[in-house]
Symmetry: C2
């Protein structure tokens, strides 16, 4: 059973999850591995949750601050949130139980740019880090760690934590070894130097994580699958969006504004993004590359079809079927995939240099193309900003995609004014819905509004938007980007009061 | 008179401003030098404005698209706006006449991140560039150009324009020669490589601008001062803000989170920023460096006092007195100043690498620290986003500063919800008013709101903000960042209706 732990000196630290979890004290800051449901620790957090439940039942307060790479799984976020064990959470969360607690004001959630977590931890402004819990796929004879199915912030957590607990997960394929590229050249200023990566396929680090063995207080052996959720098969709306995106990219190639192999693609997580990737299988581009956050099903399809030459990311986000396919052919995939720390996969320096084509989702966009990708009705967190800000501002072209309506048509994704803004209009160059695509590059705000309303809005809401825009030209304080504060957020108010943005 | 034009072959192109302006046709895109009132062409644009006025009087339409570095002067923006000669304007404008036209909807204004102008021009998405009008301080025997008091986008305009008109301005000090550093290593992806700058004082290019002599269609000799506006002497409010900022920086040094010489400082333009720089003359930091957009009076003071070791920027923005001081000692200042293209002075890669301390102004911030720095009442452009987005998102620490009220107390700079957002809460780490400083790093939205209201809001508005925040906890859709869409923008509505945000 211990064949994944080749370091004899560390075998003495092997223990069970409960013993490991007992090392964590109330009030601690706990940082874990995990990014979009892959590579997160699966046993110790559940043991910690049991401990917390017991403490609470006995009347003792017990909460921890929880830092991760991004979202994790029900065995971690879900289990700890369910027992009210999380005081503070950063930098991204997608768990439904945790979401409810955050939106009831019971968890302090810091929604951060994913590239900035490691640097800010090093700066010291997030406070001290007590315990790291990191899933790895093995420990080598020299004590170095073979990363798991995500890298996230593991390098930083292992360096910064006072104590480290490892979960060695046999479920992860042994052939993962060698896929990772851990860059150890980051520094705090004034000692920072250029990051020597100029192609998505460049390897600039080592395949292994380093960790001071004296800090490793417990090792728990597990054999547990990642939380791999199925993707929905693309529906008509997703296929229409994908079609518009691919037509736009082909047009840019024909105009000489993009090379025939495009530029490295970045794709957000989710069904729409996955549909666009699926659509690219039949698109007329030379073999592409990806420089992105996560490798999801569609990218595996592109690799299999020879349409994608290589993919660089920080994690997998696969359906169970795709995960099985990956694991069955890991040694082959290893030659065309690299997993990196998220500070590198999302680094503004690299996104700008490589000229990524950024494709991200949104909750709502206003007529000027300011995008809200986090807060439903301006206050209720959906998941978080994730890496969208890292990519959108620095991309060669920044595309945002959404169905034109939500909740069966009761919510318009295009609104007079966004109830919250994550991506300012300068960072939103193209908006796509199933209705069409608005290329906003080189347009002034009023020109943008015309394009967004005509091309992206659902026909049911288009006249209302056009009417708002026309009346705003009459009653606005200034006409650079006309607005009517008295009714700019009235659609949200109406939804909150009546359950639909449609007027009664 | 032609001693500034050492290239014999080019002397035949010397002509007068009217002849040069006659080369520009209606509907053209004209790109000029100029950044914050320095180094912009002063004669040809006025001649063009006269031509446009004549054409309009004769019933002929005549407008041009105007691209620059940033703001310019009344002889350029003002003159062309006054004759309704500007169809489209980018990327930044500060001229009062142009501002009125933009806010009447008569000029299409593209308010852009200043670092992105050159790359987007190269991408081709802004359209073709017809004529560049560039002020230089001299032409060397080999035809290379000695830049003027700003660099801006001149390298890109000279490369991309079909025709180039030069203004050779004798008013600019001859000793400017050698101060500039023009980096010619930028490329479009996939050919981009790391920018080899690791210290603010690194020189990575050449002191001269290159321009194909065959494209130079006219050279006009001028002797005209830059638009140098006096700074207001710091008042009590500016001094209080400066005091809070310096106390914060000293605290960060004492905690070991900043080195004793700080990190390179970036400072926005304006009286508050200038007051902070003045305050740093007496601050206890080792000689500092600046990596910023503009060198204004306060930086000259810091250099003179030996508190600043060197300053890197793309332009000067000086009072007439400071400009005289600079010109009288140019040879000495040249050793501690570098002027670069704005794509380099503001480059995200470099801002992140150097770890700049970003200090920028704002129009309003909401209780969560989302910042509006461009649109008064959400619709009326003040100036533009400028470089604030380039710096704030990538800074080591991102500080925004403002008096807590405007218009004699009728406007609160802290509002329930920003009427427009340029800097999302993730990019706003510290907010400072004369009331105090809120360090928002590591805080959740509700924690941020408490800090902003208690520390930054004016006492006259503080109870109203606290009341809004409390009631939002009751009626919000979600409690991650509580808001009430029905009244989130009511303060702006009240100001528009009654002339004050105070309730009647």
């Amino acid at each position: 059973m211990t064949d994944r732990i080749a370091c004899a000196a560390l075998r003495s630290r092997i223990t069970d999850a409960d013993t490991a979890a007992a090392l964590i004290r109330a009030g601690e800051t706990v940082a874990t591995s995990g990014f979009t449901g892959s590579g997160y620790p699966k046993m110790v957090p559940q043991a910690l949750a049991r401990r917390i439940a017991v403490a609470h039942a006995e009347g003792h307060p017990f909460r921890v601050n929880l830092w991760t790479g991004a979202s994790t799984g029900p065995e971690l976020d879900g289990a700890l949130a369910a027992v009210d064990g999380i005081a503070q959470r950063l930098p991204y969360s997608g768990d439904p139980v945790a979401r409810e607690k955050i939106n009831r004001g019971e968890i302090d959630y810091l929604d951060m740019h994913l590239s900035q977590v490691a640097p800010m931890a090093w700066e010291g402004v997030l406070g001290p880090l007590d315990t790291a819990i990191i899933e790895v796929s093995g420990i080598r004879a020299d004590g170095s760690l073979i990363p798991s199915s995500s890298v996230g912030n593991n390098k930083t957590w292992a360096d910064r934590a006072k104590r480290v607990i490892l979960e060695v997960n046999r479920w992860q394929d042994a052939a993962l070894e060698g896929m990772h590229d851990i860059y150890y050249g980051t520094r705090l200023p004034p000692e920072r130097v250029p990051i020597p990566l100029v192609r998505p396929d460049d390897r600039i680090g080592t395949p292994y994580l380093a960790c001071d063995p004296d800090k490793i207080v417990a090792i728990v052996e597990t054999e547990a699958p990642d939380r791999n959720l199925p993707f929905a098969a693309p529906d008509d709306i997703a296929r229409a969006i994908a079609g518009h995106v691919i037509e736009f990219l082909a047009h840019e190639v024909s105009r000489g504004r993009l090379p025939p192999a495009l530029l490295p693609i970045q794709s957000g997580v989710g069904n729409i993004a996955n549909a666009v990737l699926s659509g690219l299988v039949d698109a007329p581009f030379d073999p592409m590359t990806a420089y992105t956050e996560v490798i999801q099903d569609g990218m595996l399809d592109l690799l299999d079809a020879g349409r994608l030459r290589m993919a660089s990311a920080t994690a997998f986000s696969l359906s169970p079927q795709a995960a099985a396919r990956l694991n069955a052919n890991m040694a082959a995939y290893r030659d065309c995939m690299i997993l990196r720390p998220q500070e590198i996969s999302n680094h503004p320096e690299l996104v700008r240099r490589l000229g990524c084509i950024a494709m991200n989702g949104l909750i709502e966009a206003d007529i000027y193309g300011n995008v809200n990708s986090t807060l439903v009705m301006g206050s209720r967190i959906q998941n978080g900003i994730g890496g969208s800000g890292d990519f959108a501002r620095n991309a060669y072209v920044s595309i945002f995609m959404t169905p034109s309506t939500a909740k069966g048509g009761k919510i318009s994704a295009i609104v007079p004014q966004a109830s919250h803004v994550d991506h300012i209009m300068q960072d939103v160059q193209v908006i796509v819905t199933e209705q069409g695509l608005a290329d906003l590059r080189g347009l002034s705000p009023r020109q943008r509004a015309k394009a967004v309303i005509e091309r992206c809005a659902h026909p049911d809401y288009r006249p209302m938007l056009a009417d708002y825009a026309m009346r705003a030209e009459g009653g606005s304080y200034g006409l650079h980007a006309p607005s009517l504060p008295a009714e700019a957020l009235s659609w949200h108010r109406r939804y909150m009061e009546t359950g639909t943005m449609r007027p009664s």
